[in-house]
Subunit: 140 residues, 2 copies
């Protein structure tokens, strides 16, 4: 039976997930890509090399993140969070976030991981989505 999750249950789905689908608006068109993320308080943290989604969100900061946990066809949870993109530009904060992400996702991408480990001045972008709305559904 499908039921609507309350806000705290939807946050729990978001917190348990590691990979979500990030949708943004690029030149008037929707664009969706998978991302790894971490949740801290009311923000989702992630990283990216420069590219389409970063350029898109710099211009149009609204974003949507969908996360599913699927046990089987009859048991799944899904959360959808809406928020605004903020780039983390302060060097200390940026390094901290990238290291946290690297701890959770040792692979990041091979290029990114090596660069972060070497503490090289790398073009990896750290960003957060400040979530202001979340909903969820589950079948149980």
């Amino acid at each position: 039976m499908t039921r609507t999750l309350n806000e705290s249950e939807a946050w729990e789905v978001l917190r348990r997930g590691k990979v979500g689908q990030l949708a943004c608006i690029d030149q008037g068109e929707p664009y969706v890509v998978p991302i790894n993320y971490l949740v801290d308080e009311s923000c989702v943290y992630s990283h990216s090399l420069p590219g389409r989604k970063i350029s898109a969100m710099r211009l149009h900061p609204r974003a949507c993140l969908q996360v599913s946990q699927i046990q089987d066809d009859f048991h799944w949870q899904s959360a959808i969070a809406f928020g605004s993109f903020e780039e983390i530009t302060g060097e200390a904060a940026r390094t901290l976030i990238l290291r946290k992400l690297l701890d959770h996702f040792p692979r990041l991408t091979p290029v990114e991981s090596q660069l972060v480990r070497d503490a090289e001045p790398v073009p990896v972008i750290a960003f957060r989505l400040r979530i202001d709305r979340i909903s969820g559904v589950a079948e149980e």
Copy 2:
């Protein structure tokens, strides 16, 4: 090693998938939800009860569908297709598509499945995305 897929490889990823992430624009905001779909020629077919994504695409027909196949962290394929939403309103075409979808996804949703089986005049919406651009990446 990550590599860019050519168009025909990206279509193959799309054709092999069953669940994708559909992004659209709702009141100026990105919105993304998982959908079941079928591919036929250059279109993606799906269904939905009336709701947010249908209302959004009726007003702003551009959509983006992301599909992943993940064997493990080091072996995965991802395709991203862009297209325009078209509702299938002709009764014969609509019934045909809904039956095809039901054959592939016997569950649709419990409410939808029963309604389609009973050939009731139901509010299930059949739609296609006419894909005009596709790309993909893979790690192999």
